[in-house]
Symmetry: D2
Subunit: 241 residues, 4 copies
Amino acid sequence: MLNVTIWNEFVHENIHQEVKAVYPTGIHMALAEGLAHPDFIIRTATLDQPDHGLTQDVLDSTDVLLWWGHMAHDKVSDEIVDRVVKRVLDGMGLIVLHSGHFSKPFKALMGTSCDLKWREAGEQELMWSVNPTHPIAEGITGPIIIDQEEMYGEFFDIPAPDELIFISNFSGGEVFRSGCTFKRGHGNIFYFRPGHETYPTYRNPEVLKVISNAIRWAPSKAGKQVFGNSQPIRPLQIPVV
Amino acid sequence: MLNVTIWNEFVHENIHQEVKAVYPTGIHMALAEGLAHPDFIIRTATLDQPDHGLTQDVLDSTDVLLWWGHMAHDKVSDEIVDRVVKRVLDGMGLIVLHSGHFSKPFKALMGTSCDLKWREAGEQELMWSVNPTHPIAEGITGPIIIDQEEMYGEFFDIPAPDELIFISNFSGGEVFRSGCTFKRGHGNIFYFRPGHETYPTYRNPEVLKVISNAIRWAPSKAGKQVFGNSQPIRPLQIPVV
Amino acid sequence: MLNVTIWNEFVHENIHQEVKAVYPTGIHMALAEGLAHPDFIIRTATLDQPDHGLTQDVLDSTDVLLWWGHMAHDKVSDEIVDRVVKRVLDGMGLIVLHSGHFSKPFKALMGTSCDLKWREAGEQELMWSVNPTHPIAEGITGPIIIDQEEMYGEFFDIPAPDELIFISNFSGGEVFRSGCTFKRGHGNIFYFRPGHETYPTYRNPEVLKVISNAIRWAPSKAGKQVFGNSQPIRPLQIPVV
Amino acid sequence: MLNVTIWNEFVHENIHQEVKAVYPTGIHMALAEGLAHPDFIIRTATLDQPDHGLTQDVLDSTDVLLWWGHMAHDKVSDEIVDRVVKRVLDGMGLIVLHSGHFSKPFKALMGTSCDLKWREAGEQELMWSVNPTHPIAEGITGPIIIDQEEMYGEFFDIPAPDELIFISNFSGGEVFRSGCTFKRGHGNIFYFRPGHETYPTYRNPEVLKVISNAIRWAPSKAGKQVFGNSQPIRPLQIPVV
């Protein structure tokens, strides 16, 4: 059983009619529904809740956190960002979705600007696996075809990912490293590109399959690391001065 | 010609007699002397200077910045740290030395705790190349032998380096990834382990050779990236709804 | 349930008394015993069997193959090597042990000489994890201490591993990348250093734990890849000439 | 001054009129012309020459070898392949072009099938840099636009490259890792996708710029490695039995 917390800023859906039309109960609820599985205990959290719904208790009992944000990145308090980052370094899995590339926790964990090219033109995205045996790509045999999506294009200013899993082709001619893993401290991080708020991408079964695979892949196990002043294992051989 | 700025917190040398005995004019001056070469225009900067000696002008005219800090990491102002990080992302090379693993700029660029094991016991360090054709390892044929050094031991909490160049063996039994490269934005970063303040490590010719190699390797060239809203290269094929 | 085949050249144990004294029934039988677990269906195979015990049927029904060889690398027929390599590329896991670094299948999969330094002096090996959350390192909290082993030292002429998991420190001063993963085709490969024939290394519980972890990690799932002439997903936009 | 040898099987140009029309003197001569620079001493070699033009002397005096082959991969003798592979491992740079993905030397160095999807439909290729500060991408600011090329599509069965530099987008919807580096032994290898024999791709200034950059990047320097039986650096600490 995995404890999954889906965080969504939940702003677009309240103020933009076209987004509300696609996700009437919010992106987090659509994801919660689409990812529902007996192996997952799913909770949601949103920006407007106390502590943005991410109290220490919630994070401590979360195996994998999903993060969707866009227009309200700045509204996320630095204290909560620190809390999230610390939990990732301590082993909580983190799945950063779409415009979450510019979220504070992702930027803090990457150390780079995480900037990219984009275009809102409802063009077709074809997402190809370049790592077909990776657990995150399990069950994805051909390209994932998304008929209408926002374009994201390279150069995507991230560190070289530990593993590159998906690359997208957009009608307009761009490419994008759409599925990337990063290990930071004890935490496994998966960045997954699709999911613009004006398209029903999070109802696409293959997109949900990838996120579901990533949830199973993300948690990690390791005892607390020993840092600091250490005793030698062997008698030291101090050179004669 | 490369513009090199050597930053040193320059605190130990002023308050600890045993350090002053080793580096009477400071670690930065020892490095400046040891790295002197017609290809390098070397400046130094220290914590106690205005802006810690790292004004925007200094950074803008620096191709490669070396960083040595230890007991005064906290004294480095966040504003200067942001300035340094931004310049690295824009293409300035950064060489982080020894206890600089815990410096604010390095931690911000790595996104991890950068913690490790350590022991001050003057034990022998043997540093082996695992990437002998890397420009940073040029001219290093056998292990670099440092008779007395502080031990740093794994687990070293960094992201998997883009390239691993040196691994150290300590008498007491530990190992350490002592030479690691990371690319962040346009900036090349080299972390290099040796250089405890109580030993004359920065007078070791092979240690200086590695740093010198890294200075030549670190600068990068690339025009400013284009980010943001982009025009398609090809006519879009909007799927018929 | 995983089908595990342990391949051992089984020559030293028959002709060298000191080896026979350590592994009277062969390294393969010691491994089979030490790795016994309800999740594993273990078979063994040796050089002197028809097809070296590695018929197509055996390989096709093997999820993970372990390989120990040393003095008889040349005696392994190229036909069987091709068969093994092909099965790895098709998704069979491969765990290459100790002197297997010079085996034909490993060299064919790496494309390099796989050469290294060595010394038979019964010195102490301390093996440290640099990837503590990797499934192969699960349950390994401190260094693995092996009181007497053959030394292997860098430079180890392999491609940069996809993941570096363990690094060894030897009394005599060397280091070695002792636990390395490589993905080739659909196959996951783990090289694991310890296991000289004159020491009872394969009775060390932590060494067995690592091999056992690697067996669980190694198998991969992916449908057969589609290669060759492909139809376009989108109508082609042939530029007007 | 760099000694560059351009190897071309030179078969298509002799038997297919449409190829001869594009490259009347052969792909090797077009490359030699396009890459001409005072820093390069360029020679060519072809399949029909004694030793395919790749005598030991030629290879020993070659800093960087370019390889173009397609329909005659099988005609390249295994002895010459071994010679080429050995020189790469000893430090000769290797640039493998287009259909050279299936050449014997590249497959031997990769250890995988190197298979891929393809389509000959004269469609547009847009090649984007994902590593803008890499020396091989120097001077390439936007996508490289090739109006007509053969499509190559993922999954491309290679080991994860050490560095990924270019990704292509094809009109028909595929993506491809078009610029990849690999270090094998002392040798730097660059695989570069474009260059189907029926299109004048090797007259495209940006394609030539990338190849030219790769020629400057490829050579490596390192003394001969010391392998084999080694003396300890430190007195051994043999555990008391």
